[in-house]
Symmetry: none
Subunit: 218 residues, 4 copies
DNA sequence: CATGAATGAGGATTCATTCAT
DNA sequence: AATGAATGAATCCTCATTCAT
């Protein structure tokens, strides 16, 4: 596999991925426009011309990010959720935590920020992001909420909107990783726990709600 | 003699504000770097050179946005909340709706998007945004949650985190106004109602409560 | 003459001259291109538009400098030399000192600097400067040298070149007034005295000296 | 296959020097401000962007001129003077001629013009020019005059000022190469000879002045 | 396959000039 | 006669992209 041990053929296969990783980091740090190809190349350990051997241009690098980096993570996340058994509440907890582990706390948290910033300039990429990530992610949340409502574990709520209410703090936790002030200091896990606490109280039927974690009195 | 009614309208007073409005719109649409000064000028109804009569450069325009546009809105919002009486739940509803009216559905919803995108490139502006907007906004939410907990109307929750959970969907609703897909189609008011429904259920004490939202008297 | 005592009619007559004075100072300090019309206006105590009431544009201001400021000084200098009696040596001393007083140590010393810097960009002005100033000045020096040679007071020298050798240090003394380093610290009068000392020794017949190169006859 | 022999010649080493040469010529012709980067690039045979590969900007090009172009010439001139034996008069003649050959009649004669024009705008460069060129040049002249006075070959003169008197015509000869009128027509060598004739007569002891070099006949 | 010198279109900024007031 | 807001051509500089090596 490495018949030709020449310096530059060493990692022929790995190059495109390395370039995308470098690009993602930089796009997230500085934005698409403010990131120079030279910087991407430098961070990927190559020189100015090399990215053009693998991508048609800066915009193509941007477009490739979603396909190449997001999809595998989504597949992984879905695999982790697959076949999980338990109450709706338990499944919701698990979803939120898996989501955070496989995306929120990885370099992929950069993508929502990038999309907020650049969706308007790259509708095509935004469509891809929407179709692959948002729709797919929402489906997972929708499923568990609907199941909870159907089984009577959850109150009857406006499912389509409730799922966005539920996702919003998770996404915000990803976005704020890139803000130099404010939210930045929050502990993500405690943030997610608080979210789940509020949401499950908000969703669950009250009467038999012995769920109350903080004060299980009564 | 006056075929061309007014080649320029000599409005020294109004110009800076017009330029900032134009800049805010464009920065939100396309991002800071992708917005050309010419475009800002054109949208403000002036030509290339005019913005430089009032601002030292593009960056100064950016910096001025927060001070000039955000502060008045915040003052207005706080005035609308001032002296409002009612239960914690009622106050929370009102805060969320006032917030949305005075910022979410105005052109100011552009600022959170801008900040997500550019905070890293303009830490100085991010600090201003944080100090003037985030800190001040959070204080309002913190106050009402704390009051609710103190009066026994709300459960004991992790206030500092709960307020972020509460804010997140409101901010997300602002951000998604600029996304071409997905969330964009949601009805903001229904979204906020759903948020309040979930949050109030999540916050309120739930004795034998048959869900009575506003005033579970009796 | 001042029937209309309105604020701005006060010095109608003086304006153009004030503007030229301001322009000369600034052109000498910073060069033609680096001097903004605003600066000229400000130093003349008027605003941006006013210079255009008196001059067609920046270049016309430049052109006017020579005519308006240099000629009077030259006339004055020639008047001071007129009818002066004495040996060639005495006349040379007087010329150099008058020259220095009426031009070297006044703001007119700016003109040689300006001409060195801008002659190439304004050949028309350079021609004017040459015809009015250089030619006229050289004529004065030529005259006294020729008279000295004719009377036998001076050696026979290459008059046409000697006059330039004689002028050069005077001009350099004017130029170096604008250099921040080096020559700047020299005392002009001592410099001129040294020049005259050397030149007169260089020009005068050496009593018993059989040195006479060109025309060893007599 | 090679219809267009070489679109660019890939001469990393030579470029900076070529650009500086082009810049020096143009700065001397038109002045710093009036010279466009495009012109410098064009004269150097490259395009707009290339100068920026080697210099941070226009000002850096200006600053580099002194260091890169002047120093080698000065070293060369000093080498040519090194170890020269002869009377003070002979040494003075030689200095003036070497000076003229290695600087006056080369493209370096542009530097004094540039400095007269721009010293005020670039004090930092002026300092460099002063320290490297003026101080060093003056030292050479000072040395020979002092030696002449010490040996009795020259009269006792105001050395510090005499050297400036001596330098001034040499510098003026450099400056006037760029004036479209007047001095321009003079023959530099005849000018220098006249200078030396006058100066040596002016410096030398008169009585026993059997100095007559050119025509020691009698 | 990789490099990096060179390109040149694009965009920020300046400032001489105009003209309604 | 004077002002100064507005203009827009001119110019510096950046950086995505190309291509000879």
């Amino acid at each position: 596999m490495d018949l030709c041990p020449k310096r530059w053929s060493r990692r022929k296969e790995a190059r495109p991925h390395e370039i995308l990783e470098a690009a993602l980091e930089l796009f997230a740090e500085k934005g698409y426009a403010a990131t120079r190809i030279d910087e991407i190349a430098a961070r990927a350990g190559v020189t100015r011309g090399t990215p053009y051997l693998y991508f048609a241009g800066k915009e193509e690098i941007f477009k490739a990010l979603i396909q190449e980096l997001l999809l595998p993570a989504l597949d992984e996340a879905e695999a982790m959720l697959d076949g999980f058994e338990g109450s709706a509440a338990e499944r919701l907890r698990r979803i939120v935590h898996v989501w955070w582990q496989s995306m929120g706390e990885t370099r992929l948290s950069a993508l929502p920020k990038l999309m907020v910033a650049e969706a308007g300039n790259f509708p095509e990429v935004a469509k891809l992001y929407n179709d692959l990530f948002i729709v797919r992610g929402e489906a997972i949340f929708r499923q568990v909420i609907e199941a909870g409502v159907a089984s009577g574990e959850f109150r009857t709520v406006d499912v389509e909107y409730a799922l966005h209410v539920l996702c919003a703090p998770v996404v915000m936790a990803m976005l704020t990783r890139y803000m130099p002030y404010g939210h930045a200091a929050l502990d993500p896990l405690r943030y997610l726990d608080c979210l789940l606490d509020l949401m499950l109280h908000g969703l669950q039927q009250c009467p038999q709600s012995a769920e109350s974690k903080e004060k299980p009195d009564a």
